[in-house]
């Protein structure tokens, strides 16, 4: 089994998905989904360990040698991202068991969990594949399942926001397909490594820069980089709580990974940054995302929506890191992938708990929740501190690397913007804290603490966001090595 582990990481969920669909009972389907999530966590951890030990793992699907067949190619970056996805899946699925039972009708639950497993499989497939067209296929699996889950939100606006997401997501995917086609026509191959070898021969050609442009635009649509982020706030706001937590922590992360993969592995940093001057585009956009979108978040009164805008701003941080094009910058980007997954997951899950009990996440409805739901709000504050970037939380580690990357390049202004961004996070997190702790609750409503099955997963992420903030050596080492691999500084 062990030599087939790369394939099993993805195909076990793919086997379990139809089984969940056929199970017909919500509980059984949930059990199957849990099995799928935990299996992938196990597999992702073993793969990461194995990659650390013995380098890149290559696995030829169907036994066909690349570039003739499709291969899975797992280096540190992909193993790390796969681990993020799997870990978040494993933590959110117990949570989903309770929250979905309330938000989605029982007879739809089996289908819901099927979509959940499919999304997991799709994201993992993107993370470890070594074939560009295979990326597209798995991107569509994850996108379609995401659409169907978001549309299940209780507010009718869930439908329109899903439609908006579907349109923008499909445009993004089509752009990616166009880019892949243009690369193919100039090189005759779809394998990433093969492409990386053959692209330099035709780089001076006009077609490749255009392919690069289309891929970049397509992927940035998927990862919701400003100004292509319009779908994200709506989708995150109206989706069922568990879905928001799962998606916010995984799907944009995988898109960021794709960006890394295309920029560094396939096109190479020399082409991406010296010839295409990528940083000239990405850096301003990232900075605007950090400042402008954080400002929007400050004025938002729906807390889920506030957090969604904050996600757009945080994506700005990741892209900012990447836009330096240095090992330090990419390390910052990768480590923030992980860190942001932990803290935003926890924040959205805390809001899910609030939703579960009071049916709303409007700021004015949350008065006095600090007393009524102490554990939930403590989780919110804990993860919020991380978002602000208080030391000994993961958010600080991200900022540490990001600012370091900026200063190493002499970009003091950029470092300043990063800090201003985290202060803006302070403002919007603190708005919630003040309402929850400084206002008296509505005495008419008896509000009790969220159920343990939701609190425990939330707290797992909160504790993790402190744990990996206090001891960030592991994550930082992996991220640095991954960045070095991507930039080719290491064999």
């Amino acid at each position: 089994m062990s030599q087939n582990l790369p394939a099993l990481l993805v195909v076990v969920p793919l086997l379990l998905a139809p089984l969940a669909a056929l199970s017909g009972r919500a509980k059984i389907a949930w059990g199957i989904a849990t099995a799928a999530c935990w299996w992938t966590l196990y597999a992702a951890i073993s793969l990461l360990l194995r990659v650390q030990e013995s380098g890149v793992i290559r696995y030829s699907l169907g036994g066909w040698e690349p570039p003739y067949g499709i291969e899975y190619r797992i280096d540190l970056a992909s193993a790390f991202v796969a681990l993020i996805v799997a870990a978040i899946g494993a933590v959110t699925i117990p949570y989903a068991g309770t929250s979905i039972a309330k938000e989605v009708s029982e007879d739809r639950a089996p289908l819901f969990y099927t979509a959940w497993i499919l999304m997991l499989a799709g994201l993992l497939g993107i993370a470890i594949t070594g074939d560009v067209f295979n990326v597209f296929v798995f991107l569509e699996i994850s996108s379609l399942s995401a659409y169907s889950m978001i549309a299940l939100g209780q507010d009718r606006r869930a439908l329109t926001s899903t439609f908006q997401y579907l349109i923008m997501g499909s445009v993004g995917a089509t752009f990616i397909v166009i880019g892949i086609g243009l690369m193919y026509v100039m090189t005759g191959t779809l394998n990433m490594v093969d492409l990386a070898e053959r692209l330099p021969m035709v780089e001076s050609n006009r077609t490749i820069p255009v392919a690069f442009t289309f891929l970049t635009v397509g992927i940035t649509l998927k990862l919701a980089l400003f100004p292509l982020h319009l779908w994200l706030p709506n989708a995150y706001t109206y989706a069922p709580s568990a879905v928001t937590a799962f998606m916010a922590s995984t799907s944009t992360k995988v898109s960021v990974y794709l960006l890394l993969r295309f920029f560094f592995t396939i096109f190479g940093e020399v082409f991406s940054f010296e010839q295409m001057r990528l940083n000239m585009v990405l850096m301003p956009l990232a900075l605007i995302a950090i400042l402008a979108i954080s400002l929007v978040a400050i004025y938002e009164v729906n807390v889920k929506r506030m957090l969604a805008f904050s996600s757009v701003a945080q994506i700005g941080y990741m892209v900012l890191g990447i836009s330096f094009g240095t090992v330090l910058g990419v390390t910052a980007g990768i480590i923030h992938l992980f860190n942001h997954a932990l803290m935003k997951g926890a924040l959205f899950m805390a809001m899910g708990c609030v939703m579960y009990r009071i049916g709303s996440v409007q700021l004015d409805k949350m008065a006095g929740l600090g007393k009524a739901m102490p554990w939930t709000m403590a989780a919110f504050v804990g993860a919020g501190l991380s978002l602000i970037g208080v030391p000994l939380t993961v958010g600080f580690v991200s900022k540490w690397y990001l600012v370091q990357a900026a200063l190493a390049e002499g970009q003091w202004f950029v470092a300043g913007v990063v800090m201003v961004g985290s202060l803006m996070a302070l403002i919007y997190i603190w708005k919630v804290v003040e309402v929850a702790y400084f206002q008296e609750p509505d005495p008419d409503h008896e509000i009790i603490e969220a159920p343990l099955s939701m609190l425990i997963p939330t707290w797992v992420l909160v504790i993790a966001s402190f744990w990996f903030g206090i001891d960030a050596t592991t994550t930082a080492t992996v991220a640095t090595q991954a960045a070095e691999t991507l930039l080719g500084a290491m064999p």
Binding site: G69, A115, F133, I141, S148, M186, G188
Partner: protein
């Protein structure tokens, strides 16, 4: 010198353009759907001209067949008429022209259409054409051997996508018992399935005279 196939190619392309523009212009959605079907059919023809018989077959079955049926089914539910656009289409026009312009710029360095020496035809494809007979066995249709074996994993993904679509559509559209319409005090009230009698009575008491909000079909067929 222009060969007959090239003439066909050009004619079909022009036909497609005309159909496309007609789709934009018409406000009748039924016509638009039909034109989209025709668009698929014509492009299927074009695929045949360009030797992509499998693609043509699929496009005809899906684009002209299934897609049209689904769209007509939708139209039956949502109505046939499109409203006048209310904003000036300047921004979309700009985006489209920019995108198209960049693409055209990208093609200017491309090898000419159909040239056998194109890099795309030099690297992996010849391996399939030459070796599939030994490697996969006697399957003359190379598309099939690539689809099902060399890139079988993509096809598995594709099957999963289809399955995902079904999961999604059923999540959205399936419903068990339809909402009932109950006559009360001279008005019709829509009652969601699963409403208990007590809830219903309480609601009737509370009802002030507004038509209830549109009902969401909860419950699934399974």
């Amino acid at each position: 010198m222009i060969s007959p196939t090239e003439v066909v190619d050009i004619v079909l392309l022009i036909l497609l353009a005309v159909t496309g523009v007609a789709v934009i212009r018409t406000r009748n959605l039924f016509a638009a759907v039909m034109l989209a079907g025709i668009y698929s059919l014509v492009s299927a023809g074009l695929f045949v001209v360009m030797d992509a018989v499998d693609v043509a077959f699929t496009e005809a079955a899906v684009g002209a067949g299934i897609s049209t049926v689904l769209m007509l089914g939708t139209l039956a539910l949502v109505g046939y008429q499109e409203h006048e656009p209310r904003h000036t289409p300047l921004l979309p026009l700009f985006v489209v022209v920019l995108t198209g312009g960049i693409l055209v710029y990208g093609t200017t360095d491309m090898p000419p259409f159909g040239h056998p020496e194109n890099p795309a035809h030099q690297h992996v494809a010849p391996h399939y054409l030459e070796e599939s007979e030994h490697e996969v066995g006697h399957i003359p249709n190379v598309v099939t051997s690539v689809l099902a074996s060399y890139r079988g994993y993509d096809t598995m993904g594709e099957t999963a996508v289809v399955f995902t679509a079904m999961v999604g559509v059923l999540l959205l559209l399936s419903r068990g018992p339809l909402p009932r319409r109950v006559h009360h005090n001279g008005r019709w009230i829509t009652v969601r399935p699963g409403t208990t009698r007590e809830e219903l009575e309480a609601r009737m008491l509370a009802e002030s005279g507004d038509e209830p909000e549109p009902v969401d079909g909860e419950g699934a067929r399974g």
